[in-house]
């Protein structure tokens, strides 16, 4: 295909015309709208290929992907004060209660889970009530479908340190002065620090995910003290940034996402591990939501088809293998065992080991669910500004 | 002047202000068809503003411009029956000489063949045959101005405006080009309106000259009139080498006016001026009409003045003698240099400067 021809086809695809859909030669059901599903999410929501083709093939739909930054504000802004409903049919959240904010403003649709055959596979915790079940419901109605979850922990450079770490204390230990990093985001950083301070009894904290102003102040003063002592090399911002810090050995310990640790280990060739912290972890999940706009444009069928893929072991096994995220459905081990062509022995072992690690992390009592909108968010912000300026 | 001749350019009560600066102040002017008319004056006097207003490059603050009797005050340059030659930098550097000359014709959508023919003929007329494919920067200054001429003339417009067309040429070239311009105008027979600050250039080409200073038209007339019989003090001071003596009218009798110029009283013809005793006036006498008299003063002679000899300035063809009068005023006497002349007076020696009756002229403003 010459360059010109290629450009022409790209432009057609960009325009999202049905010509491109037909050209791709995929089964297009009459129930589906002619337009591709406009999906506003992040790159790690896809598996199977460098682009969305594998996901499209599994779901039998066309996807127009829009890149989303990792910040909750952008999503809220676009959906509630911007024109997100005109732009996107479906979107993923940034964890921690966004679906409540969006549903309360009436910008996302209630879901009919009977249209998702794989809903029966969903992890039991989502139907038991409690924090996990709340993350997909608003006022008791299901408004979201979970696709990944995790308990965030500490990554450490085992090659350099020579021992396993199992406490957040390492992050604040003078031994790693100038070689430690946390995320440049008050949410996970304050929550994980609060979990540590609470569980070690250093400070009285009721709920690490929704602290009172006084508790926020206590946590931030602790961080300021550590920062002034030169404990942190930097606060990382974004995936690439986090990977680079660990891979270049700028830092030896870093509180970060699991894929950051996985990629850093792969890039550097060092033994960089992801620990289980005795104090507990910030746990979270990411969910998909159908926008009211998507519903009114008749994209619900495509949405349910895609959700069915997200709740299939096909997706669960792959997201676990690639990024280390926890599958949201049962039957992953069986699926992996039944498909030796797709998963060689190394992959099977890796998946088994990661599942075990995950179970260990999820078993910790001190875990606390992520909360993007704590009650006293202004105190969080103001105190975070002080941490930054210290 | 032949009143029946058709008028090509007529401006009436024309003014141009830039904020508080007055560039033109109520100018009236008539140029007849087929005339070579020169606007002469010092730099900053407003002559270029007048020309550019006629050409449509400036909008007058007040007054009208009529070309061939038609009011064009609101028309842009391209809608006026004029074309223009500029001082310099005005050739299109990205086009060939032929392209420059043919540009106006191509705007008029003439057939290519016709353009080529006309362009070639015009280049030949201005003496640039065979240079059509050159770029402007490959030509000499004189040649470039010829290209400008050709570019304007090829349009067959009735009025050609020339804005200091020779100012950036050296003296020798300017002289030659002056005559060429004059001959060219005679050949094409259209109206030329030429702006210059150089009086020699003006004299050479002009049928008539208008003097412009401080935004006003001071005086107009044929070259000879302007030179030999300037009516205004400014004209006398600007054209030729005139000795100007300020004075007061001592008495008026018939056609003769006696003027006290401080260093003596002299008689001047009244002309058509009306004067009374005590009026402030100026007297002008051209330097070549003065003589240094060797003989003693003649009794009642009102056509000479006495002063102290100062110095000689040898100028080649002519020699200037400078004499200081009793009141400090200075006279310049210019004579044809003559190898066999009498020995010049010693500096400081008392000499008498005299002139023929009728050489002195009276100005009231």
């Amino acid at each position: 295909m010459n360059q010109l021809e290629f450009t022409r086809r790209r432009l057609l695809a960009a325009a999202g015309t049905s010509v491109a859909v037909a050209a791709a030669g995929l089964p297009v059901s009459s129930a589906l709208a002619a337009e591709p599903l406009r999906l506003w999410t992040i790159g790690i929501a896809k598996v199977g290929a460098k682009d969305w083709s594998a996901m499209e093939a599994q779901a039998g739909i066309q996807i127009a992907y829009n890149a989303k930054s990792a910040r909750a504000d952008e999503a809220i802004q676009k959906m509630i004060v911007g024109d997100g409903n005109k732009l996107y049919d479906a979107m993923s959240d940034n964890g921690g209660g966004m679906e409540d904010a969006l549903a309360s403003q009436g910008v996302i649709a209630e879901l009919d889970v009977s249209r998702i055959p794989n809903w029966k596979n969903i992890l039991p915790i989502y139907n038991k009530g409690g924090a996990a079940a709340e993350t997909i419901r608003h006022e008791g109605k299901i408004v979201a479908v979970p696709y990944i979850s995790n308990a965030d922990s500490l990554a450490y450079n085992h090659s350099e340190i020579g021992e396993d770490l199992n406490s957040w204390a390492a992050l604040f230990d003078a031994q790693f002065k100038g070689r430690a990093a946390m995320q440049n985001d008050f949410g996970p950083t304050l929550t994980n620090t609060a979990i540590y301070l609470k569980e070690t009894g250093a400070q009285d904290i009721e709920d690490p995910s929704d602290m009172t102003p006084a508790e926020v102040k206590g946590v931030c003063q602790f961080l300021i003290e550590k920062k002034k002592a030169g404990q942190f090399r930097t606060f990382w911002d974004g995936f690439q940034n986090g990977v680079n810090l660990l891979a270049s050995e700028e830092v030896l310990v870093s509180s970060c996402w699991e894929p950051v640790q996985i990629v850093a280990a792969k890039k550097s060739g060092k033994d960089i591990r992801y620990g289980t912290m005795v104090e507990g972890h910030q746990t979270w999940n990411n969910v998909f939501m159908l926008t009211k706009g998507g519903l009114s444009r008749g994209q619900d069928e495509a949405f349910y088809r895609l959700m069915n893929v997200y709740l299939s072991p096909w997706f669960g096994a792959r997201t676990l293998a690639t990024f280390g995220f926890a599958p949201q459905m049962s039957g992953v081990s069986e699926y992996v065992a039944a498909n030796p062509d797709d998963f060689d022995e190394a992959a099977r072992n890796l998946i088994t080991q990661r599942l075990a690690n995950k179970q260990a992390r999820y078993a910790i009592k001190g875990n606390s669910w992520q909360n993007v909108f704590p009650t006293h968010i202004r105190d969080y912000q103001d105190w975070w500004a002080r941490v930054q300026g210290a | 002047m032949d009143v029946e001749r058709p008028v090509a350019v007529e401006v009436s009560n024309l003014s141009k202000h830039y904020g508080s600066v007055v560039a033109l102040n109520g100018v009236d002017l008539k140029v007849y068809a087929g005339e070579y008319f020169v606007l002469l004056g010092p730099s900053g006097g407003g002559k270029t503003t007048l020309l550019r207003t006629i050409g449509g490059f400036l909008r007058p603050t007040a007054g009208r411009v009529l070309l061939h009797g038609r009011d064009v005050s609101d028309l842009p340059p391209d809608k006026r029956p004029t074309s223009m030659v500029f001082q310099g930098y005005a050739l299109f550097p990205h086009m060939t000489v032929a392209g420059n000359v043919g540009y106006g014709l191509s705007l008029a959508r003439l057939p290519k063949e016709e353009i080529r023919a006309k362009t070639g003929a015009m280049l030949e007329m201005v003496g640039l045959k065979g240079l059509g494919e050159r770029k402007p920067h490959e030509l000499s200054g004189g040649q470039q101005q010829r290209v400008q001429l050709a570019r304007s003339l090829v349009l067959d417009r009735d009025i050609l405006l020339l804005d200091e067309p020779l100012a950036s040429l050296d003296a020798k070239l300017r002289k030659d080009m002056c005559l060429e311009l004059k001959h060219l105008q005679e050949k094409v027979g259209i109206t030329f309106l030429h702006v210059t600050h150089n009086q020699e250039e003006a004299m050479t080409v002009a049928d008539r000259i208008a003097l412009i200073v401080n935004g006003e038209l001071v005086e107009q007339g044929s070259a000879r009139e302007i030179y030999e019989a300037p009516k205004k003090r400014f004209t006398a001071s600007f054209v030729g080498e005139n000795n100007l003596l300020d004075g007061v009218v001592a008495s008026v009798s018939g056609d003769t006016v006696l003027v006290d110029v401080g260093a003596g009283t002299i008689a001047v013809g009244r002309g058509d001026l009306s004067l009374a005793q005590g009026d402030t006036v100026a007297v002008s006498i051209r330097s070549e009409l003065l003589q240094i008299a060797s003989g003693p003063e003649v009794g009642d002679d009102r056509h000479s003045l006495t002063g102290a000899y100062r110095e000689t300035v040898y100028l080649g063809l002519t020699t200037s003698h400078r004499v200081t009068l009793a009141n400090g005023a200075e006279l310049t006497v210019r004579v044809i240099s003559d190898a066999g002349a009498d020995a010049t007076p010693a500096p400081g020696a008392e000499v008498r400067v005299q002139w023929k009756p009728g050489a002195a002229r009276l100005h009231i403003d």
């Binding site: 890149a67 891979a247 | 400008q148």
Partner: protein, 296 residues
């Protein structure tokens, strides 16, 4: 214009310093080029030479889709900014209120991207509300969606961003143009527009094209304003940032950046080499053009 009595070595030393600075500024670019040939990509401990990333540049569907939007935005920006800058330069030359004009035209340079982006975001949002309310009042709503975030709003942000650069570049080239030529053209019978198009434009064309090139480069690389003001599409930079934040930048993006840089270095290098080699001849011609009547 080398000083005849100047120290040759001092001259060379200054050149060396200039090149050293350019080289230093280019060091991140060189690094990007270096890793674009690494099979393991950015920050990997192991370096394996490959041309693979160059081969797959044009097969990355996501990147290509974003690129087509980027190119559409860049072309639209250029198509609007350059004529506006041309009008602005003309306006500037004619107006008597130069201080105010120059202040307004150049001040976008001095407003940081995040600040202008957020101000515009809030502005468009409020405009939309106002238009919506007006539409309800009048019972017609054809104008209510004018400033929905999308191509138009991103375009406005980019035009404001690029306008000062284009304005300066065009003004510089216009400064060397002699106004008499326009007048001569008008005296030849050309309308104002024809005179501009036939005579002035060919001579300032280099400046206009440079301004266009500036606009393309600037809008191609712009992130903040675009991401704040764009609608439901992605550009090269918004994809890059999303990748950087969520999954790591793709290796193709380094290859693509390197490719652009290689071409730019080759082109600009060739121009400079040519100029320096031929500087004597070019200088002679330039002098002749600058002072046409003095060239005998």
């Amino acid at each position: 214009m080398q000083d005849e009595y100047g120290n040759k070595w001092a001259y060379r030393l200054k050149w060396a310093y200039l090149l050293l600075i350019v080289f230093t500024l280019m060091s991140p670019v060189f690094y990007v080029m270096y890793i674009s040939f690494n099979e393991n990509g950015f920050g990997a401990a192991e370096y394996v030479f490959t041309l693979e990333w160059y081969a797959v540049i044009f097969t990355d569907r996501l990147m290509m889709n974003a690129l087509s939007w980027t190119l559409a935005l860049a072309s639209a920006t250029t198509a609007i900014t350059v004529p506006l800058a041309l009008l602005a330069a003309k306006f500037y030359k004619a107006t008597s209120r130069k201080v105010l004009t120059v202040f307004l035209l150049l001040s976008p340079l001095f407003v940081a991207s995040d600040i202008l982006g957020s101000a515009l975001l809030v502005y468009f949002k409020n405009l939309n509300r106002a238009f919506g309310a007006l539409g309800d009042m009048l019972g017609v709503g054809w104008f209510s969606g004018w400033f929905d975030l999308g191509f138009t709003t991103a375009l406005i942000g980019l035009v404001i961003y690029t306008l000062p650069y284009a304005f300066i570049v065009i003004l510089i080239t216009m400064g060397r143009y002699r106004e008499q030529q326009t007048e001569a053209a008008r005296a030849c019978g050309a309308s104002g527009w024809r005179a501009f198009w036939d005579i002035e434009f060919p001579q300032i064309r280099a400046g206009v094209f440079s301004a266009g090139a500036f606009c393309v480069i600037l809008s191609f690389n712009e992130y903040t304003r675009t991401s704040l003001l764009k609608g439901g599409f992605d550009t090269f930079t918004t994809v890059l940032v999303s990748q950087m934040l969520n999954e790591g930048m793709s290796e193709q993006s380094y290859a693509m950046s390197s490719l652009v840089s290689f071409i730019a270095i080759a082109v600009i290098g060739a121009i400079i080499l040519y100029t320096l080699l031929k500087s004597e001849a070019l200088a002679r011609e330039a002098r002749a053009k600058a002072q046409p009547l003095m060239a005998e």
